[in-house]
Symmetry: C2
DNA sequence: AGCTGGTGCTGGAACGTTCCAGCACGTCCA
DNA sequence: TGGACGTGCTGGAACGTTCCAGCACCAGCT
């Protein structure tokens, strides 16, 4: 079932058939409709490979997620947002295996790349950025030299400030922050924002480094340690959402009541924050919409309807829950 | 940088270059090496589209995950297992948007399909199975008519029986099961296994239906209801792992101590089970390896090294944790 | 009548690869 | 000496699409 079959059945040349179905060229309205009818009836499906070859574009984009974070439901939601949006523009989304670089090989397989939360110490990232196709990053890449064609960023400084304001309003005077090292834009922004907020409010904050995709066990140990070392500790902001249950466990262990004795919040909303008890206040990065936004930007870049180098903002929201009910 | 460039640089015809790089045809060892050197030096990358067109195979497989389950970290792990394994065979993995059928269009985009946990009430599944390419399902498809080319299944009956034996051994006499409706092989098998075990052991079990990807809130409501209706209830098996925190919350609410007063377990291990407190005993389906196994089977099917219709078993393990410490 | 310009359509070339028939050459055996 | 056969290589065709130059035709103007 090729274009030629359709053309023959409709009694026109393949060029006309191509024009009629592709919407290009000069075809009279009547023949266009006739050809479309024939194509539909015959169940014609354009051959992707032939089209790619001729157009020298693959109709697919790649999605690269952080090595360490592939287990998080946050990225799952983001991925499916991106898939959906890509589909709307007729683009396939191919999932790239984390860790395995293969920079150059990609160029012939995808038209563009989505690189989410690029970490400074991920050796694949520079390869991806230099793969020779447009790249949109989710959050900025902090490395030097290479610049992506576009980026979608969250105002992590503002969201953390809002979260800290909320905690202060609920009575927190000695908050702590569990946050990954400054290898990602997200974590670096959180660190800077904590510093700024702390100075501005005159409230001392203890900042503790945890892995990018910290486990509950790691967060529990860190929190226990924090509680032991800071008797007045009254709030813990745990940046990675997956680790939140560990913070709660440490609170229980220390005899602190979450929500009143110890306020707890996360910088990413997800299953862990929503499902724990009590439910945990978190910054909702709206992962699926984030994925959609990244895919949309890349799609526009590919279509030439967006300026290379553009940076777009993505909105967040604060989901207040029981874990920050307020100090009594 | 095409094959012809390489051929010219090596002073041979494109056919010889193709044979040398592809490992086919008759080429002397010396020229083969020379051509490979030239190709490497020039950084030659075969054009995927041209190859696909000529070979009429795309070098990519599709992955379809259940509509409702895309948020679960279980599927994230599975997906990345599959990606990795596919990559090892040079196959790209394209993520299919759930819900949107597009059966026929797929045939030209992928060589084969991975359909994971196909649900009876998902209208896309029959389209996918009938897309005209080999399909491997993760767990069986319970619908009539269409048969996949292969399947990788878990012995869910055995794992649930083992889990229930474990609970009984730890003192449970009135266990309950929260399980999705029988629209998926997994849930149907769990239901049947619960029934069999209950008869064999002479222990009455209450089975309660919850959504396939139940939320903690749904599980909490169900558990609270169960506790209210069954004063002697001493164990809850929550099939979907994401819902586990809800069960724990309900236990706390009812004044039951998880692990001693109420034993809790899940039929899928994941972040929720590992991260809650206390940590929850669960059947580890080893998602990443499961994904690998599915991709491996499809790959073999495509290569013709596996018999169409083959069904492979995938091993599970029981991770015992504090939530089933034992009734005092 | 001849020129201009627009419209609807066509045929051929090109994209980069793989596959196939076949050629030149050498070796072995009758 | 000459057929049969194996080896190493080549050129052309094919895969299905899109793009481009160009042809025939008609209407409007000079």
């Amino acid at each position: 079932m090729t274009l030629i079959d359709v053309a023959r059945a409709a009694g026109v040349s393949k060029s006309t058939a191509s024009n009629a179905l592709g919407g290009s060229g000069r075809v009279s309205e009547s023949t266009r409709e006739r050809i479309q009818d024939v194509a539909r009836e015959l169940g014609y499906r354009p051959n992707t490979a032939a089209r790619s070859l001729r157009r020298s574009s693959t109709g697919a984009i790649g999605l690269y997620l952080p090595r360490t974070g592939t287990r998080l439901d946050y990225y799952m939601n983001l991925a499916f947002g991106a898939v959906e949006r890509a589909r709307e523009d007729g683009l396939d989304l191919v999932l790239l295996a984390p860790g395995t670089a293969s920079g150059g090989a990609l160029a012939s397989r995808v038209d563009g790349l989505l690189v989410i939360d690029p970490e400074l110490d991920d050796p694949s990232v520079p390869d991806l950025l230099g793969a020779g196709v447009p790249v949109v990053t989710g959050e900025r890449y902090l490395g030097a030299g290479v610049t992506p064609s576009g980026a979608v960023v969250c105002d992590n400084a503002a969201s953390l400030a809002a979260l800290l304001d909320h905690l202060a309003e609920r009575g927190a005077r000695r908050p702590a922050l569990l946050v990954p090292g400054p290898g990602s834009d997200w974590a670096a922004a959180l660190r800077a924002a904590a510093d700024t907020w702390s100075r501005r409010e005159g409230i001392e904050m203890v900042v503790r480094t945890v892995p990018f995709a910290a486990t509950p066990a790691e967060a529990e140990a860190a929190t226990a340690d924090l509680i032991a070392g800071n008797p007045n500790l009254d709030a813990v902001v745990c940046a990675p959402d997956g680790a939140v249950p560990g913070v709660l466990a440490a609170a229980v262990q220390a005899g602190l009541r979450t929500g009143t004795g110890l306020l707890v919040a996360a910088c990413v909303d997800g299953a862990a924050a929503r499902g724990s008890s009590p439910r945990v206040t978190a910054v909702d990065l709206r992962a699926a919409e984030y994925g959609r936004a990244c895919a949309a930007l890349l799609s526009e870049l590919l279509a030439g309807t967006a300026e290379p180098g553009v940076v777009r903002r993505h909105d967040w929201a604060l989901n207040v829950r029981d874990s920050t009910a307020g100090r009594s």
